[in-house]
């Protein structure tokens, strides 16, 4: 029903109305052999321009929002001089970064140093290809969408290491080493926590994952997938693990030890000035936005309206999907900023211990429980022929109960481990030198 409301404006290839329009009205003079290719390239370029526009503006105002929001948390006002309410502050920052002198350390390995700053941006832009704006408004709905996101996003670590190594600065190298170790460690819980979602959705494509979260009666109920509504209801633990691992992946507080300014100046971008420093910030903000958007796709139903029966999904002829998608993404971004405003930074050993000793076992257990329960429930409704709201309610209640049990068991288990030998050592403690040795003893 809802499928017809929004034409596939961004979808690549045949069927895109923009492409058809170009073919029929603009490109009539070209030879038959070239017309489809030129039309494709033009449509793709326009889509790229649209994506870049949206993402850039979001990024610019995310910086302002973060400064305002964290400012309020810390009882400050935040930037309010440039433009009304500081609304032009991002542009002032941009001009400042563009016009600052670029200082390269004499001892740095110039090509690696410069390439690091350049290569850190492309992966952060490329991940946006699979993120849907609304129903049908997705640039490239790959069948391996989630895998594409994860693989492209994890490439960012290579230029980060290049930056740290090429700078030939001890602090930069320490920062880069920490960044690699952290990103690599937290990628495991991130991908493992999402396997449960993929298992219930039965697909890796972002479009299918959202459709599989269709609430009963919204008209978007997919034929395949699990009838449990948004995956935050059936996979709450996975959602929390995903958020924590993502915070670590994009190196935000409390997992920002690769750029801990009180220990190692600015980490891997210590030696970068002006626009090159800006490129690192750009990449980090892009990744934060993309991860928040992916989080809302995976767990919060993407462009779906949060109300039962698809209320406010459409307003007249307009599909409000882009509004809901934006609102959910913004909610997660605000969550990241809130964390930054309230949490202290973790210590290196706590950080690594938390990934491998808490998050990985927990996400493995979660996956196991999801698979078993999913199989049982699937068998149950095939045998009994249960349907509709009743079936969804049973599925959600069963999963919530299982997640509650898992959480209880995990707390019990970790508590016992800690009582036995201080492992896993993830406490915050105000000890000085030697505390990490104690933790490892």
């Amino acid at each position: 029903m809802m499928m017809e409301l929004m034409p596939v404006w961004l979808q690549a290839g045949a069927g895109n109305p923009l492409r058809e329009f170009l073919l029929e009205n603009i490109l009539t003079g070209l030879s038959e052999a070239w017309r489809p290719l030129v039309a494709d390239l033009l449509t793709w370029s326009l889509t790229c321009a649209l994506i870049m526009g949206i993402v850039q503006v979001t990024m610019l105002y995310c910086t302002l929002l973060e400064r305002k929001f964290v400012g309020r948390i810390q009882d400050r006002i935040g930037p309010n001089r440039v433009g009304y309410w500081g609304l032009l502050q991002p542009f002032a920052d941009m001009v400042k970064m563009l016009t600052k002198e670029d200082i390269t350390p004499a001892v740095a390995h110039r090509s690696v140093y410069n390439l690091g700053a350049i290569l850190v941006v492309p992966p952060a832009i490329m991940v946006f290809a699979i993120l849907p704006l609304s129903l049908g408004l997705v640039a490239s709905d790959l069948s391996v969408g989630f895998l594409y996101f994860i693989s492209v996003a994890s490439v960012v670590i290579v230029p980060i290491f290049m930056a740290g190594w090429g700078s030939r600065n001890k602090f930069a190298l320490i920062g880069a080493m920490r960044a690699v170790a952290q990103t690599v460690s937290y990628e495991i819980p991130q991908v493992l926590s999402v396997v449960g979602v993929l298992l219930l959705a039965g697909s890796l494509s972002t479009g299918d994952i959202i459709l599989a979260q269709g609430t009963v009666g919204s008209g978007a109920q997919a034929s395949q997938g699990f009838p449990g509504g948004w995956f935050i209801l059936t996979q709450p633990i996975a959602f929390v693990i995903y958020l924590m691992a993502t915070t670590a992946e994009v190196e935000r507080t409390p997992f920002d030890i690769p750029e801990a300014e009180s220990e190692i100046i600015a980490g891997y971008h210590t030696e970068y000035a002006g626009i090159k420093f800006g490129l690192f910030q750009l990449s980090q903000y892009f990744m934060t936005i993309a991860s928040a958007a992916l989080g809302s796709v995976l767990f919060l139903g993407g462009w779906m309206s949060p109300f039962p029966g698809g209320l406010l999904q459409t307003l007249g002829p307009l599909n409000l999907g882009f509004f809901w998608m934006g609102a959910k993404t913004l909610l997660l971004i605000l969550g990241f900023m809130w964390l930054r405003g309230t949490w202290p930074r973790l210590r290196s050993d706590q950080l690594m211990g938390f990934a491998w000793k808490v998050l990985v076992p927990l996400s493995l257990a979660n996956l196991l429980i999801t698979a078993l329960l999913g199989w049982l429930l699937h068998g149950w409704w095939n045998a009994s022929g249960a349907q509709g709201l009743g079936r969804s309610a049973v599925v959600v209640v069963a999963f919530l109960a299982a997640n509650g049990l898992l959480l209880f068991g995990a707390m019990l288990g970790f508590g016992r481990l800690r009582a036995k030998g201080g492992r896993p050592d993830i406490r915050f403690e105000a000890t000085g030198v030697g505390s990490s040795v104690e933790g490892a003893a």
């Binding site: 870049m52 200082i103 492309p122 490239s140 039965g202 210590t270 490129l279």
Partner: protein
């Protein structure tokens, strides 16, 4: 499908031009007056002692090794998860065994102290 990847090829090109445009703009606008003091390595006003390209803690490589193991595991998990609802009980049991073996591996690494940050 080819169309989708074609778009990604175009987006990749755009993605690579974005930082280059930024650098070019900045190159046009910024001053350029390098000096020996300016170009020293940043170290809080002190001169750096020794080379920065040093041998590093082996701890990082241990984590990298475990990471490779688990990353390969997730590659095996994905196709299984996507096809899960259509698979017979055998596939579920098999994956439980697979996960069990991995969990034992993790416990082994844990007990051996490979997960301790020294």
């Amino acid at each position: 499908m080819v169309d989708n990847w074609g778009f990604i090829a175009v987006l990749t090109l755009v993605a690579f031009t974005v930082p280059l445009i930024g650098l070019a703009l900045s190159w046009l606008l910024r001053p350029h007056r390098p000096g020996p003091i300016k170009q020293t390595t940043y170290e809080c006003g002190l001169e750096t002692i020794g080379d920065s390209w040093v041998q590093f803690k082996v701890q990082y490589y241990l984590y990298a090794l475990i990471f490779v193991l688990f990353d390969v595991e997730t590659v095996f998990l994905y196709p299984w998860a996507v096809a899960f609802l259509g698979l017979p009980l055998f596939a579920l049991v098999e994956m439980v065994i697979f996960l069990g073996i991995l969990a034992i591996g993790l416990i082994y690494a844990w007990r051996k102290g490979a997960l301790e940050w020294v």
